[in-house]
């Protein structure tokens, strides 16, 4: 059974229909990469799944629970939305670290607030509040930044910031982790350290969706590739199928733009 099932997701902004019926599923432990030209709706998918946008149509199922059904839910309460969000973690292109907290402080903020205000919602129930710091430090260590725990975001490089942001998302112990172009805001020499962390998560069988323009990376780590074009999934398959034997001429055209670079 799939861990995530997205069915016929549609989203418009005014007259601009950005998602025109997107369906896909993802098994536990799999890595899915989403590629495609900019403006194709990749970010919008992630934002819809995280309820930063509310889809106009479609359903989202996690495990055997339908967490969103546009036909049923006229309006979700803030609490339901928060609860749904905790299934997922999202890593932003431009990090969005909280500047007034240290690296460790950024990671601890949400687990601590969660434990204090709504422990029943917390997905790391087994961690007693007094152990949260230790637990978060372990996660910071997993992205290789334990020695930077007391540094503030402005004291970190872009690559380090993004690794802290990944650790921050991991600390909420999401079932699925989403990345929206995690290396696009980085200088080329800093992308490697971030991709290495994501690759390790993939090897550890974290379930992930990665929106990326790093074609070589996507080909290497993914179990599944989706090519998004103009609000629709234009092609879907294993990396071998999509990169080496694309069926859709649009995919071929898009990939050609990258071969020159590699």
């Amino acid at each position: 059974m799939s861990l995530l099932e997205v069915n016929n997701l549609k989203k418009s902004f005014g007259k601009n229909t950005v998602l025109k019926g997107v369906s896909f599923s993802l098994d536990k432990g799999q890595t899915l990469s989403v590629i495609g030209p900019s403006g194709g709706g990749k970010t919008t998918i992630l934002r819809c799944l995280n309820f930063l946008e509310i889809p106009d149509e479609g359903t989202v199922k996690v495990g055997d629970e339908i967490i969103f059904d546009a036909a049923q839910t006229a309006r979700l309460s803030d609490r339901e939305i928060r609860k749904n969000r905790l299934h997922f973690g999202l890593v932003f292109q431009d990090f969005n670290l909280f500047p007034q907290y240290t690296a460790l402080g950024n990671i601890m903020l949400a687990p601590k607030l969660q434990a204090a205000s709504s422990p029943e919602m917390s997905r790391e129930k087994n961690i007693p509040p007094e152990r949260i710091e230790e637990y978060c430090l372990e996660i910071l260590d997993r992205v290789g930044l334990a020695d930077k725990k007391d540094h503030y975001p402005h004291q970190l490089s872009g690559g380090q910031k993004q690794r802290v942001a990944i650790a921050r998302a991991m600390a909420m112990n999401p079932e699925i982790l989403f990345f929206d172009e995690p290396t696009s805001a980085l200088d080329p020499e800093l992308t490697g350290e971030v991709l290495k962390v994501i690759r390790r998560l993939s090897e550890e069988k974290m379930t992930m969706i990665i929106v990326t323009h790093e074609m070589g990376f996507a080909k290497n780590v993914s179990d599944q590739i989706i090519f998004m074009d103009n609000g629709l999934i234009a092609e879907q398959g294993t990396p071998e199928e999509v990169f080496n034997h694309p069926k859709n001429p649009r995919t071929l055209e898009f990939l050609r733009g990258y071969t020159g670079l590699e």
Partner: protein, 219 residues
């Protein structure tokens, strides 16, 4: 003579301090309210408030003082403020609070709107509530952004208190000037400058401290 002047000026300065203190106490919360009104999704409220703020910021405080103090008496034939020094004082406080609340509200609005929406979204995807996001993430960043413009505005207020001289409120300038008539000397008026300098000097030091305290992070 010097002792006389000093004691008269000090009494005037106390009045100046009262205007200063009460204006801050009233204008900061009122400014927050106006700021919320200027950002509300209810269009009518938003535009009415923005219009009023524009009027207050676009006209001199001295004019507002005159209108507020003399207006009720001239228009409805009834001096709301009561007669004498007390009436002048109340009218002054009201005019200053309204004026400064409008300036503060624009500073608050600028501060809040300058925080990237990504900060809030990062909080949302971590499952935080709106209140948690405001108090634990946004607020301190807003404070850091508004300390410099607020300190400018507050130091301006120190000097603006003297505008109440126009309705003969017995503040520091009035106290200094009174010696021109009574004793034919002008140095007490000039001497008031020392008070203003000392007071704004202290405030500058205080605000620099606060800015230093907030230097541990960047926004």
């Amino acid at each position: 003579m010097f002792a006389n002047v000093l004691s008269a000026l000090s009494i005037g300065f106390l009045k100046t301090l009262e205007i200063f203190g009460l204006t801050l106490v009233g204008a900061i919360p009122l400014g927050l309210l106006i700021c919320l009104g200027a950002m509300t999704r209810i269009r009518v409220v938003k535009y009415v408030i923005r219009f009023l703020v524009w009027v207050i910021r676009g006209t001199p405080l001295m004019l507002q003082l005159l209108v507020i103090y003399y207006g009720p008496g001239l228009i409805i034939g009834d001096n709301w403020w009561g007669s004498g020094e007390h009436g002048r004082f109340i009218a002054t406080i009201v005019a200053f609070i309204i004026n400064y609340a409008c300036y503060f509200s624009e500073i608050f609005r600028g501060g809040i709107q300058s925080i990237p929406v990504g900060q809030q979204e990062a909080g949302f995807v971590l499952g935080l509530t709106k209140a948690q996001i405001f108090f634990r993430i946004t607020l301190l960043q807003v404070v850091k952004r508004i300390v410099p413009p607020m300190s400018n505005e507050i130091i301006t207020l120190v000097k603006d208190t003297s505008l109440s001289r126009i309705i003969a409120l017995q503040e520091l300038i009035w106290a200094g000037q009174s010696f021109m008539k009574s004793a034919g000397i002008i140095w007490p008026l000039f001497f008031t400058g020392i008070y203003y300098l000392a007071f704004s000097g202290i405030l500058t030091v205080v605000f620099n401290r606060i800015e230093k305290k907030l230097e541990f992070f960047r926004v």
